[in-house]
Amino acid sequence: MRQADLELLMEALKDPMRNFVRESRVRICLLVNGAGQVLSQHGFTRSYEVMNVASLAASAHASARALGEITGSGAWRHMHHAGKERQLFLAPFKTPVQELILVAIFDEDSSLGLVQLFFDRLAGEVVALPQFMTARASKDAASFEKDLESGLETIFSNEPGQGT
């Protein structure tokens, strides 16, 4: 995605993501595209953590999608891991430009049901953003690394510490 489009989108995503964090009471969340480009984050303090989680989320999404295709079970809706203290929720949704993936980490202050509920609302709000009408996804492989870096730079240069 072009840097100018990316910055517009990131700005537009702030409110929906802030609402999602407040309502669902997740501790940490990240919104990335299928290439692992970070569009929004909350709760991370180090860029390498964001980079790792973003690339793992994109990878998990690609693997789950391939698994769904191989097994004939179609597109997956979400993945959930319930740890002893923290739980992980990972879910994709389609926008007019590209597919995005939400990664959310929550504890006993939230629940899978709450995260699912407010994820659906977040997806609806994000899909309706007018910024998606003008933004264009990257088309060539050469731009992948540049996209990834520009996403991280924009996030951590605008708001060090707490994101969104």
Partner: protein, 116 residues
């Protein structure tokens, strides 16, 4: 616990005059385990929000040293939501404003006992 026990509890509760629907919710996950609801009721949202409210109220009750929350009753303009503790589960009933609340509460309590 078998589906039959869940269904029996829900059917009994749904037969109470004025009850518009009922569901059994996994307290920690906030997701429905079984439900008997009208088509226009979003069971997922109801389960998530009821479980969240129940857990938070239970914490408040605990902080006030009143023990464990047994029943939560919400009164709204058009009706009531009544939730009862059933161990790892919560049983939730949606009742019309004119429903016999004593009877609804009694059935919620019985259903909760049956699910423990």
């Amino acid at each position: 616990m078998s589906d039959d026990i869940f269904q029996a509890a829900l059917e009994r509760l749904s037969r109470v005059p004025g009850v518009r629907g009922a569901l059994i919710v996994d307290t920690d996950a906030g997701v429905p385990v079984a439900s008997e609801l009208a088509a226009d009721v979003d069971g997922g949202a109801l389960a998530a929000l009821a479980a969240s409210l129940f857990k938070r109220t239970d914490r408040a009750i605990g902080a006030a040293a009143f023990g464990k929350l047994a029943t939560l009753q919400l009164e709204a303009e058009e009706g009531h939501v009544i939730a009862g503790d059933a161990g790892d589960l919560i049983i939730v009933a949606i009742a019309e404003r004119q429903a016999q609340l004593g009877l609804v509460r009694l059935e919620v309590h019985r259903a909760a006992q049956a699910l423990r």
